[in-house]
């Protein structure tokens, strides 16, 4: 049996960590886009649409991410769509992320006072103009810190993609453990790598929080 050095372990984990980063980024960007869309239709205010979006949010907030991934991964083939672990993981995490982000952003939009809506309406702006020039620029500043904060949850959430066979950091850790029989070392390295990705994000979120705390403009 060949010996594995710590470097071998770390190197292979690093290779897999790229997929963790890629999956996080994809889920975050796509989830953000879907979340923004949901936010717009929700704020525009058709009662049925609002109920629908609220149901969507509750559904994804009220079930474990793992179940959501299982349902995407094993459910889609039932209707004839064969999905790879990568597609299933991206899709699942995107849905999950969009539900949370739309809810975070809804709070930010609602914190913009009624007076801003009324003033812009009385100047003849339509809904899209109000959102674009008045509400979103202000809401965005409030939204940045919690949004960056949530990105940490997305990164950690990608770990569950290992269960459906997507080889990212956690799955790579399992595979390497099976070869090396050194679970403590391997998972220790895995944990350190997650921390190295997430901690800067947390610091950044905290930094932004301080910066935007007394934001009037």
């Amino acid at each position: 049996m060949s010996e594995f050095s710590l470097w071998d372990i770390a190197y292979n984990l690093l290779l897999a960590a790229r997929w963790t980063v890629l999956l996080s980024l994809t889920a975050f960007v796509l989830g953000g886009l879907v979340g923004l869309l949901l936010l717009m239709v929700r704020t525009a205010g058709n009662p049925w649409v609002i109920r629908l979006v609220r149901g969507y949010v509750e559904l994804f907030q009220g079930t474990p991410l793992l179940m959501q991934l299982f349902i995407v991964f094993f459910g889609l083939p039932l209707i004839g769509l064969d999905v790879s672990p990568w597609v299933a993981a991206t899709l699942g995490l995107t849905l999950f992320t969009s539900a949370f982000l739309t809810e975070i952003w809804r709070g930010c939009v609602e914190s913009i006072g009624k007076g801003q809506w009324e003033a812009s309406a009385s100047l003849g702006m339509n809904f899209t103009q109000q959102m674009r020039y008045i509400v979103l620029p202000q809401a965005l500043r409030i939204a940045v810190p919690p949004t960056v904060g949530f990105s940490v949850q997305v990164v950690k959430g990608t770990a569950v993609a290992s269960i459906i066979g997507f080889v990212e950091l956690t799955k790579a850790g399992t595979m390497i453990t099976n070869a090396t029989y050194e679970p403590f070392t391997v998972y220790g390295c895995v944990a350190v790598m997650y921390f190295l990705i997430c901690y800067p994000l947390s610091l950044f979120a905290r930094h932004l929080e301080g910066k935007f705390r007394h934001v009037a403009r």
Binding site: G113, G115, Q116, E118, A119, S120, A121, S122, L123, G124, M125, N126, Q129, Y133, I134, P137, Q138, R141, A216, R217
Partner: protein, 242 residues
């Protein structure tokens, strides 16, 4: 024909009927004060004139055009009818100049240069030529309210609605805002204002409308109405102020 005509306006908030059939016509160049106790419906009435409150029943005609609650109609209406609020409602993320420029650019599709020229003109008119680059939080309440007036004027409305524009101001800042409103009145702007500044209303307005429990209770020339109230309600309202 009057510039603004309201016929049999009804409005309820849930069970509570706030406007119980209001008829009012406003001629071009007229300055009208809506007075009355809080809860009398005067602010709600004002807000129906630019569609911020949607009426349940009745007819609103502005400049010969009947207004329904269709979005296109509302946006068109708001080009004719400007509004200034009690809480200023300036956009905090824009400078004074940008606050005034935004709507001409975005809504009226004017060029940036054109919008800037109008904005500068309007800010100079309200005495804030030297504060154009200030953000709202760098301005006093009185200055903010004057920016809000300039912002409404930049859209060249036919009517300007003023909803208690001095009520949120410290006493020493009230006069600088009233001076601007007075100047507009003298220039022939059509004004409808909800106000608690009775002395100002008496001096500046052409017509006083006293509202009581969702109805227009008494109306007429300000001097006449103040010195010779015909109903006990107005009498006690005027008396309570003295």
């Amino acid at each position: 024909m009057s510039l603004v005509e309201l016929h049999a306006i009804h409005k309820s908030f849930g069970e509570l009927e706030v406007l119980k059939g209001i008829d009012l016509s406003i001629d071009e160049g007229q300055v009208i004060a809506l007075i009355g106790k809080s809860g009398s419906g005067k602010s709600t009435l004002l807000r129906t004139i630019n569609g911020l409150e949607v009426i349940d029943d009745g007819v609103i005609i502005v400049d010969g055009k009947k207004i329904s609650d269709r979005d296109a109609d509302l946006l068109g209406l708001r080009l004719q009818v400007g509004m200034v609020f009690q809480q200023f409602n300036l956009f905090p993320h824009y400078t004074a100049l940008e606050n005034v420029m935004l709507s001409p650019q975005v809504v009226k599709k004017q060029s940036k240069a054109e919008a800037k020229q109008i904005a500068e003109e309007m800010l100079a008119k309200v005495g804030l030529a030297d504060k154009m680059m200030h953000y709202p939080d760098q301005l006093s309440g009185g200055q903010q309210q004057r920016v809000a007036i300039a912002r409404a004027l930049a859209m060249k409305p036919k009517v300007l609605l003023c909803d208690e524009v001095t009520s949120a101001l410290d006493p020493e800042l009230v006069n600088e805002v009233l001076a601007v409103v007075r100047q507009l009145a003298e220039e022939g702007m059509t004004l409808v204002m909800v106000t608690h500044e009775m002395r100002f209303a008496r001096e500046v307005c052409d017509k006083l409308v006293f509202m009581h429990q969702g109805r227009i209770h008494e109306t007429g020339d300000p001097e006449e109405v103040f010195s010779n109230p015909k109903t006990p309600e107005l009498s006690s309202f005027v008396g309570g102020l003295a």
